[in-house]
């Protein structure tokens, strides 16, 4: 589904990603871990098309297409969803209006007609229940005045509404208490099908207790320095990142 | 509780001005009044070249046509410009070869002010130019600085020794026609400091000018000109005091700063002119024009000011951000007490692309004083990606004072972002109670809170100055603040 080859990228002239290689197949869950500043969020930005990040070298192929040529909205239509680490507040724009517009744009891209208001409300109700989001939240402006947990839940709700094929969850666990974490993780698990894939970006192992990854990658100084099965996450939890840093230093 | 606070407020506001003494030295003064002859006399006295006399006369002729501005939030008593002495100098001030030749009375004066003119006694980090009334009496560390090509001298000396530099930059940032007080200063300025940092030089010590008004009935009109050539750096300090007198005295200075490509100038001032007594009698009228230009790309100018003195302050240190990627900062603490009035702030004029400016202003009003922030942020049409953030906070101590905020924003570029935030509040009773509960007296609590409130600005001052400024804040608010 997603193939990343020798990806180099910079922000404001500073190289952040220094040759990333990654392959993801439908139905898989990959976790990307790493200490602060290792380039995890930058990678998410490259995949979702944020122009803050400049790709200097390498390829990102998504379902056979060159992803880097596509606008952020085209990537969204193609099934890519980014759960933001810091969801943006948009005063004055209600979640309902926001989601309706987004959903209809997705349908338009697929050549379908706009959804009828009653179907839309039905869909909203269904997905709200799925991710256990408070009904009153959706009547408010996008993320405005939301607590940290509410913002993250709202991200998962949007993911449920848009049914992406590739979801990237950027530090979705940060700032969440254990209950909120469980709810968010449940939401993600319920949305999982053999056809879609998920990249979970996280600093801690605890989210991976709930969302079980097929592969775990460690990103360090702009490179994936270690890839393994789920047990790698456990090891990191136990030993911290210093262990990897040391191992690298010894090489 | 309130009673007690009032009492403390009262006690504090009685705090005395400790620089109010007067030095009895023989002075040479001109007769009162201002006309073309006086302007010519000043110029002749200083043996100035023709271009400078011309500059003065043009300014004087322009000034005569101007009216005093009345738009600020100030109540300024009528000033009789013919009742002011425009030139006063210690008589014995001849060309000084060494410190020993400085009049012992004068040395003592500066010792009392905590400004030692003796280089051995000074902390090595600071070079001082001491100006009393109209003339500079001594510049320290001149030779050390000269080795690096840095020129740091009195303005008069610079006119004599570096006339081309003076001619090139004088009035280039603040033209004589700029405003009423700028025109007046340009006509009659007496002395001041001049400083030039050559290409690529980082000035190794703080340069500082200390201004003292001593004589009665005189106006002080000094001029400071700072030129930082490409990729140079300088940190410049200015301090001032005046004796306690019942009549008002006028101080109308000009400061011009030029920062060439990649140069950085830090200008810090602690202004402590005599503020008048607690009934509002006497005190300095401080009407000052300070402006810098970030002329070259990537240049930077930073103003930091602590304003505690003067009966009336009218002062807007400003920056013209002309070079691309240039940046400017303005940090200000203005304290007013008793019957003081302050109308101060800054102007940031964004001309170049990617220019940045930051304004942090903290006003504290006590007694019967009025304290205004007035600022202009202007973004010109071609200033793509210009950014400004302004934060103006006012703190009120007592219910007879006023705090005002007048920001002006003029944006003419769609990629620019200008943000202004302001708050006005008094010290929260819950904050004081919290301190009380932890065993801190109300007076100390107010002190602590004010300290915290001004920290952001005081931190920008050079170490030695910051300590002085903090002491000054305490004295200014003594009783109303711990």
């Amino acid at each position: 589904m997603l193939i990343i080859k020798d990806l180099h990228a910079e922000i404001d002239g500073k190289e952040i990603l220094k040759g990333i290689n990654l392959e993801l197949k439908a139905g898989e869950v990959h976790a990307i871990m790493g200490p602060n500043g290792s380039g995890k969020s930058t990678l998410a930005s490259v995949i979702s098309g944020r122009d803050l990040v400049k790709v200097t070298k390498g390829k990102v192929i998504y379902k056979g297409n060159n992803l880097l040529d596509m606008s952020p909205e085209a990537r969204s239509h193609a099934g890519i969803f980014l759960g933001f680490q810091y969801p943006i507040e948009i005063p004055g724009v209600s979640i309902i209006n926001f989601m309706k517009t987004a959903l209809n744009e997705h349908r338009k891209a697929r050549g379908e007609d706009a959804i009828s208001p009653s179907d839309f409300l039905k869909l909203m109700r269904e997905k709200k229940a799925l991710v256990e989001i408070d009904s009153s939240l959706v009547n408010r402006s996008v993320n405005e005045g939301f607590s940290g947990g509410e913002k993250k839940r709202n991200e998962i709700f949007q993911m449920a509404m848009l049914e992406p094929e590739l979801a990237i969850l950027d530090e979705t666990d940060s700032g969440l208490d254990i209950d909120a974490l469980r709810t968010v993780a449940n939401g993600v698990n319920k949305l999982k099908t053999p056809k879609n894939a998920t990249i979970v970006i996280t600093h801690y192992q605890r989210l991976l207790d709930y969302i079980i990854p097929d592969r775990v990658h460690v990103l360090y100084k702009g490179r994936i320095v270690k890839s393994s099965g789920r047990e790698l996450a456990m090891e990191l939890e136990e030993k911290g990142y210093d262990w990897i840093k040391k191992e690298l230093a010894n090489d | 509780m309130e009673k007690e606070q009032d009492k403390i407020l009262n006690e504090i506001t009685q705090g005395d001005y400790k620089y109010g003494f007067y030095t009895n030295i023989e002075m040479e003064t001109f007769p009162k009044g201002l006309n073309e002859d006086v302007v010519r006399m000043i110029s002749a006295k200083k043996k100035e070249p023709e271009f400078l006399l011309e500059f003065r006369l043009k300014a004087f002729r322009h000034w005569k046509k101007m009216k005093m501005p009345d738009w600020a939030q100030l109540n300024i008593p009528e000033i009789d410009y013919q009742n002011i002495i425009y030139y006063a100098a210690p008589k014995k001030k001849p060309e000084l070869e060494s410190l020993d030749e400085v009049d012992p009375e004068l040395r003592e004066t500066f010792d009392k002010l905590g400004i030692a003119l003796d280089e051995q006694k000074r902390l090595t980090g600071v070079a001082v130019d001491a100006v009393i009334d109209s003339v500079s009496v001594k510049t320290t560390f001149k030779e050390t600085l000269a080795e690096l090509g840095i020129i740091f001298s009195s303005f008069s000396e610079a006119v004599r020794e570096h006339p081309d530099l003076v001619r090139k930059y004088l009035g280039s940032v603040v033209p004589y026609s700029d405003n009423f007080f700028a025109a007046l200063n340009s006509a009659v300025f007496s002395d001041g400091s001049f400083c030039y940092i050559p290409k690529g030089v980082r000035c190794p010590m703080e340069l500082s000018t200390y201004f003292r008004i001593n004589a009665a009935n005189t106006g002080q009109f000094e001029r400071t000109l700072i030129v930082a050539d490409e990729s140079s750096y300088v940190s410049y300090l200015e301090g001032c005091t005046a004796p306690q007198r019942d009549e008002n005295q006028l101080h109308a200075a000009i400061v011009e700063i030029i920062a060439h490509e990649s140069a950085e100038v830090k200008y810090s001032t602690v202004q402590n002119w005599y503020p008048g007594d607690k009934n509002g009698l006497g005190g300095i009228f401080n009407f000052v024009t300070k402006r810098g230009i970030c002329k070259g790309d990537n240049s930077k100018i930073s103003w930091t000011q602590v304003e505690t003195g003067s009966a009336i302050t009218w002062k807007y240190p400003s920056c013209i951000l002309k070079g691309n990627n240039s940046s400017a900062e303005f940090y200000s603490v203005a304290v007013t007490n008793n019957h003081q009035q302050a109308d101060t702030g800054t102007k940031m004029i964004h001309i170049g692309k990617n220019t940045r400016s930051l304004i942090v202003s903290k006003g504290i009003s006590a007694g019967n004083s009025q304290n205004s922030y007035r600022g202009l942020v202007k973004v010109l049409k071609n200033a793509d990606n210009a950014r400004n953030f302004s934060q103006c906070d006012s703190l009120l101590l007592g219910d007879k004072c006023g705090a005002h905020t007048f920001p002006y924003i003029e944006a003419n570029n769609s990629s620019s972002v200008v943000e202004h935030e302001a708050t006005t509040s008094k010290i929260g009773e819950d904050q004081i109670f919290y301190c009380n509960q932890r065993g801190i007296s109300t007076e100390d609590a107010i002190g602590l809170i004010v300290n915290g409130y001004t920290k952001e600005v005081l931190n920008k001052l050079p170490m030695e100055f910051a300590v002085e400024a903090q002491k000054l804040l305490q004295i200014s608010l003594e009783g109303s603040v711990g």
Binding site: T101 | A411, E419
Partner: protein, 454 residues
Amino acid sequence: MTEVLTYKDNKLDFEDMFRKSEKTNGHVASFLRSFREEAAGSFIKSGLPGQNTTKYKYLDLDGLFSREYYYRFQQEIVHFDINHVFKCDIPNMNTKMQILLNGFYYGGQDSLVELQGGVKCGSMLQAAREMPDIFEKYYSKAVGKANDGLVDMNTALWRDGYFIYVPKNGSPGESLQVVNLVLSERNLFLQPRNMIILEEGAELNLVVCDHALSRKLSLSNSVSEIFVGANAKFDYTVLQNDHNSASQINYNFIDQGRDSRVEGNIISLHGGLIRNNHIVKLSGRGAENYLGGLNLTDGDQYIDNYVFVDHAVPDCYSEQFFKGVLDDKARGVFNGRILVQQDAQKTQAYQKNNNILLTDHARMNSNPQLEIYADDVKCTHGATVGQIDEEAMFYLRSRGIPENEARMMMMYGFAEEIIKKIKIDSLRERIEDFIARRLRGEMTRCENCSLLDR
């Protein structure tokens, strides 16, 4: 008689106007005379306000007055029913509509109309005749010493306007609507004078719409006095949606009594030049004032809002929130001043002005001011000028919303923060629709206004 406005060498021939006015003064209530004379005297001294004051810094009155205008001291007889020409078509909006035609109250000049709850409305002149006691009690009290040439000029020369009176604890039961129509073959200069009185405990919802029907130039210098008694509630929405030849300078003087509440929203969608002056005096403890403003400007339009809120007594609350979107070469000005007087302890005052510039030719000047003489207060103000948040744009696009649509949503959301405060649903929906279409560039004016263009 139609008169020509004479303006030469930056000076209005006011004395000529006043002389002519006095000649045709027969039917004006006599007690108004002293006000007129006093105002005329101070105008002669001051003249039109100059651009050297902060208050009028950006307003080019000289340019405005140096065009050709005509004015009248009496209503022009129209030979058709205005209701055939103009109909407000906002669906399901139940309002009692009154019309000012060229600054004169239209229809029913002979007596005031009495509505439910003892509410009276009609022509100012008629009110002066019919309710002299109440009229005299209030007239010019909110204006006071205006120290403003334009206000003085209105006081000296006004001939009519609308009048609304809500008695103690009264309420008309439905919203009232005032429509200012301008319809003339000639360029017009108008000076309506309006008065709204809410006695203690009264309630009123008012909608004011401005519609210049003819394409000729017009300049309106209108003054309204609004008195809101103790515990009274006044809610008003002003919709300014005029064409480019229409210029207006409005003064709303609001005086609020104890525990009263006033909420106003001024939506400026279109107009050649608009200057609104909101002058609020909170003179009773516990009074609350909420003022919202939204302007969407493009072309060469100029929109200027001046706000002055005077916290004269303790325990009052005020909030001003103005937003602007400026496109093309539009020019916007916000000048907001909060004054907290020495005794006005426990004041809370909040002011905010946010603007988006869409082009490099659009200009915005924002000048929020706090002037505070009391120490136990909570006051903040903030102003921003910037552009659409790029972070938010990316967020929307990452959800599949195309760039143009995302931009529209952002602007709409920006406007919505003001629009959502309008309480009359049908009116709010109409304005939302206006704004959506306006932002898409599909519409520049209210449909009805183009009726005469057929």
